[in-house]
Symmetry: C2
Subunit: 393 residues, 2 copies
Amino acid sequence: MRCGNGIEARQVDELFINIDPIQAGGRLTADAMKAVIAYGDGYSVCDNCRKPNRLDYISKPPIAEFHKDVAAWLNMDTVRTVPGARRGFQAVAHTYVHKGDPVLLTSLSHYTEFLAIEETGGIAREIPVDADHKVTPEATATKIEEVKREFGRVPALAFIDHVDYQYGNMHDVKAIAKVAHGYDIPVLYNGAYTVGILPVDGKDLGVDFVVGSGHKSMAAPAPSGVLAVTAERAAEVFRTTTIVGDVTNRKFGIKEPEMMGCTLMGATLVGLMASFPHVKERVKHFDRELENNAIVMDALLAIEGTTCLSEYPRKHTMTRVDTTASFDTIAEAHRKRGFYFSSALGEKGITGLIPGATKIWKFNTYGTTKKQAMHLADAFIAVACENGLPLKK
Amino acid sequence: MRCGNGIEARQVDELFINIDPIQAGGRLTADAMKAVIAYGDGYSVCDNCRKPNRLDYISKPPIAEFHKDVAAWLNMDTVRTVPGARRGFQAVAHTYVHKGDPVLLTSLSHYTEFLAIEETGGIAREIPVDADHKVTPEATATKIEEVKREFGRVPALAFIDHVDYQYGNMHDVKAIAKVAHGYDIPVLYNGAYTVGILPVDGKDLGVDFVVGSGHKSMAAPAPSGVLAVTAERAAEVFRTTTIVGDVTNRKFGIKEPEMMGCTLMGATLVGLMASFPHVKERVKHFDRELENNAIVMDALLAIEGTTCLSEYPRKHTMTRVDTTASFDTIAEAHRKRGFYFSSALGEKGITGLIPGATKIWKFNTYGTTKKQAMHLADAFIAVACENGLPLKK
């Protein structure tokens, strides 16, 4: 079936159990699917835009209420929607980082945080991770001291990923933020893998900014996300425009330069809003998600030679495993080479692994039912057995 | 019908002839509606993302081909998609404008261009318009000379709206760009009201950047848009990342800082792509759109006291009229006050006017059929007659 010239209709999550590491949290809810159709037209949310003419003031659909609800849910003071978490990073970096300023992030930080720093002319300084691939408050303090010696000043901003994209490890943001705040460094909490997945309490974490991704973890269409800030920081990041036209003397009301005015005017925003009640509910049941992940991990680790590169037991469903000494040993002699692995899983109704990858790979069981988790577990064991890989006793 | 908690399904374009000035060009095509459902899930276009891992290299769905097609269609060299035209302005401003730099725009420029300048620390300088609300090459030259005297240097960049948002007037971008280039000022063509509406040839216009809006004029969901540039400028605006992790020595491939990496990862992009063949076709028939606009304008101007504030005859379907001496004269004594006007039109199946506005207002007939245009014309005349307003002889 086609949905346009040369565009095949995508049916990945309809036909398969999808364990793609970045797609699991962004599958639309049924309400979001209805919303993208009902609000698909370009400026669809602007029907009832009245003075002061800003997206977050619109009450029909209930955009204003949504902004307040998200702020309360994250225990922060002010929220704006953004076209992706990365645009939240950009807005914050642009507010605090000037050319030549050192900026703190971690050895596991996402590339979009680096780009946000690069775009402002900042200089990236990574906190090293320990042997377990964890960022510690001690390493944070040491790195800040190093930056002070190198630059004669502390970093202008710190980006800390609660759960990193490489290992899915959970880092102690609360303790790290405390260290950074001891040096008066504002802290941005990157919740791309947590906001919409598990409970997040910004005030308890003691962070200045919470950034979430709609399309990664809030069951919303791309590009979408949220930037939640404390009242103190709101006046800085969400400052309103002061520019004036020199000929017309025009001013531009309460539009916010870092947001470039209104942000998500249609399907993306209403998709995010429609999924929100479901997202609020699902974060309360993250324990079930970890149980399902454990079912799959138990199976993988039962295959001789397979190791978990992520922290274990798992605190997040996105997991990195090493099958160099198990599934990869088959690849060389297999007629499909490394593609045998994703191919065999595909035959069992499983997708989301990079085709050809048999050494180190990531997967995400988020959103699977227990039955699906058991099917995944059985499938990995079956592919191992079919290829003569030994199981642990 | 609801599409989520408290969110009424929008049925504006299903139930009414919608002449909202900003919504007319952003109504989805049927193919785009299919696309937003099929590709609604967050990172839906990333199923087949392979090295070098950048959005515009993905061939299934045919994203790479789409980028090439859009560049050819606009007669420019390189295209990227952006989350709204404003994010195109931001990327270009950020590349060329430094703190304190003067930037040229016009007395009719959109607020998002001002915000792009403000965000980079630039200083806005408006080209005055003439008595007909047109920006001329002569006024451009005069303003550049003024800026030179004031700042000791020429503007770092010029934003020129081909069709402005206030009057829908068409400005002579080709001649204006020639003047700006005489001073080596790069020119950004703001095609928010033209790209996707009428034919645009970037090389013929002689501009460095063409920015279009998906949700305003390309029948796409928000936020979406395109930034098309010349080969010379591509190396500047689309330069690739050079930042390096100091601990990990990580580099980030061919990601582009001004784009913040990948831009539109799902429904927005595929919506834009699905509508594109229809959009390419519709720009060839803009003459029909002007004919329909003329049907409506003839009716409005037949009502004694009504004047057209936009250039006339119309060169664009988005039009500003003054009914202070016609429809507004009824408002004071009417029990519905000024709301009688939009209310009476609503009863005739017409929407998109700001409720209560009876003095100066804008409308856009884009996308109406001839029959709908005739209905609009009849409706305006009928509301005039019902309220005892005289028609011209």
